[in-house]
């Protein structure tokens, strides 16, 4: 062995060991995802997600560390509510709030209001009628890694979603304290997170004035009976039920009532989908016109089986999943075991709440040895259902019918 080679091996060996030790020390022993039923569907051969434990969080799948992008493992979706410590995390900039003092924290209401107002945590909790709701929320880019061709952005599988019970004050009631002036068209929301540079656009998202005043949205100070985790928006978070989580501004600190629509990067460039009737486009000829994404499409997701599965003949497969929509209400979930030729109704669990997900299940005994393609599709009260093929360049609001491969052996 030549000296050069030996030195090289020594150097790389040491590097590997020191990296490993560093990982151990920081608590993220790189239990890199080994397939976990994802390899087929991801297909990049480049799954670098590791498990990591962030403050107030249990072990979650880490897509990125700064800002944290943490994905919930699927098995948490076998329960009606997603625990706070397992709830997914997504921020835009590294400058996220890490310290909040409730004695000094204030949420400001400014802009086209009669009385610019500052409210403390206790004000929000005591001056307004508390409202409770269970609501589903989902990152606009959830399931992005399944798009083909692949698109840039956080490569989530199905775990950037969750269902939680919130208590808070109605946004309408809070706005009434400040008094919305006539001529207001939008209300926009900012949190404590800050952009890293003067030139970077502050994360801020608007709702139309009618939407903001319709009584549905709440400013939540309680999540699953506890204070919100810091990474999920402590101390208060806007809950816009039925709408994608990009509108659920975390660590809400500033509400601006506007007489002109807000224009920023987050409205005009990001979080937009093709303006085509089905919001789908041809990868080779992307649509020129786009619109902001808004509410959750109707969608069913397999929770079990999580990935491709092998069964012995005669065994029964317990299929479970969740279905979500914009609040009209899931009315039907069907499962196909023959790749979409015939469909069987799955059993729906009780309705948890208007804007909650709805759970569904089915036991299936494959009739004979062979390969099967399972699919699931949801339909809501408005008749909205799912299709087998869709694509958009941002990898947003995925609602394509999901597929699971099953192999039955002797």
């Amino acid at each position: 062995m030549s000296y050069a080679r030996r030195d090289f091996l020594k150097a790389t060996g040491l590097l590997g060991i020191s990296a490993f030790l560093a990982a151990c020390k920081s608590g993220s022993v790189a239990r890199t995802m080994i397939n976990a039923g994802l390899s087929d569907t991801r297909g990049t051969g480049y799954d670098v997600r590791t498990w990591a434990r962030f403050p107030e969080k249990t072990d979650l799948l880490m897509l990125a560390d700064r800002p944290p992008l943490l994905e919930t493992p699927m098995h948490y979706f076998l329960k009606d509510l997603t625990p706070n410590d397992a709830y997914f995390v997504r921020w835009h900039y590294a400058g996220i709030p890490t310290r909040v003092d409730l004695r000094t924290f204030r949420m400001r209401i400014i802009g086209a209001v009669n009385r610019p107002t500052e409210l403390s945590f206790d004000d929000l909790r005591t001056r307004f009628e508390p409202v409770a709701m269970t609501a589903f929320s989902e990152c606009s880019g959830n399931s992005r890694s399944f798009f083909r061709p692949q698109v840039p952005g956080a490569q989530w599988t199905n775990g950037a979603m969750g269902n939680a019970h919130y208590v808070g004050a109605r946004l309408r009631d809070v706005l009434a304290v400040a008094g919305v002036k006539a001529g207001a068209v939008e209300v926009s929301f900012r949190g404590l997170d800050v952009p890293p540079l003067q030139s970077s656009p502050h994360f801020e998202k608007p709702l139309t004035i009618d939407h903001a005043l319709n009584g549905d949205s709440i400013i939540a100070y309680e999540m699953n009976g506890e204070p919100l985790p810091m990474l999920n928006g402590f101390p208060i978070r806007l809950v816009v039920p039925g709408w994608f989580a990009t509108y659920w501004v975390k660590a809400l600190s500033q509400i601006t009532v506007r007489t002109e629509p807000l224009h920023n990067f987050w409205v005009d460039t990001a979080y937009r989908i093709p303006a085509t009737p089905d919001h789908s486009e041809d990868p080779k000829h992307p649509s020129e016109n786009t619109v902001p994404l808004t509410s959750h499409p109707t969608r069913a997701v397999f929770v079990t089986p999580e990935g491709p599965v092998k069964l012995a003949r005669g065994a029964t497969l317990q299929i479970e999943g969740i279905a979500s929509d914009d609040g009209a209400g899931i009315r039907r979930v069907e499962v196909s075991t023959d790749g979409g030729h015939t469909w069987i109704d799955a059993a729906l669990d009780r309705v948890i709440d208007k804007y909650s997900w709805r759970r569904w299940r089915m036991n299936w005994k494959p009739p004979q040895i062979g390969r099967y393609t399972l699919q699931c599709r949801a339909t809501n009260a408005a008749g909205a259902t799912q299709r087998t093929n869709e694509w958009n360049h941002g990898g947003y609001q995925r609602r394509v019918i999901e597929t699971r491969e099953v192999e039955v052996t002797a």
């Binding site: 151990c24 020390k25 608590g27 480049y46 700064r66 909040v100 692949q150 030139s199 101390p235 460039t269």
Partner: protein
């Protein structure tokens, strides 16, 4: 004999690393218990009982391969995000990386000049990308 000795040394070494790893995790888990929030405190009593919440974030930044453009990447891109953002992406063609880096400048206001932008794109393509297929390159030569 020589081989046996080397193997024995390796086994001892492996065991040492493994025990250090397990110790590292256990230590970390103990630390997690001291997170200053406990579910027992009702939200109603929060302001008086535990008015300050503070967390400490740990970084898990991976090392990036050396090469031309590494420094530009390490200085500019990491202002807003960890290199993990790149690692998590698929192996994109040059066209996609070009658009992504440009989005960081135009959309997110990254202070990257045109020359550095090219350097960073070259760097990303060199270890986490691929050149455009010929047909694509023709239409996107700018």
């Amino acid at each position: 004999m020589q081989t046996l000795r080397v193997m024995a040394a390796l086994v001892v070494f492996g065991a040492a690393i493994l025990s250090y790893a397990l110790w590292g995790r256990a230590g970390r888990e103990r630390k997690a218990v001291s997170v200053p929030v406990s579910p027992e405190i009702p939200v109603a009593a929060l302001t008086s009982t535990q008015p300050v919440k503070e967390i400490e974030l740990e970084y898990h930044q991976p090392d990036l391969p050396p090469g031309p453009g590494h420094d530009a990447f390490a200085v500019q891109c990491v202002i807003c995000h960890s290199p993990r953002y790149v690692l998590n992406q698929p192996i994109f063609p040059r066209k996609t990386w070009t658009a992504e880096v440009h989005k960081m400048v135009k959309g997110y206001g990254a202070p990257i000049d045109a020359e550095q932008e090219r350097e960073i794109v070259d760097y990303l393509v060199s270890w986490h990308g691929k050149e455009d297929p010929p047909t694509l390159a023709k239409t996107t030569s700018n």
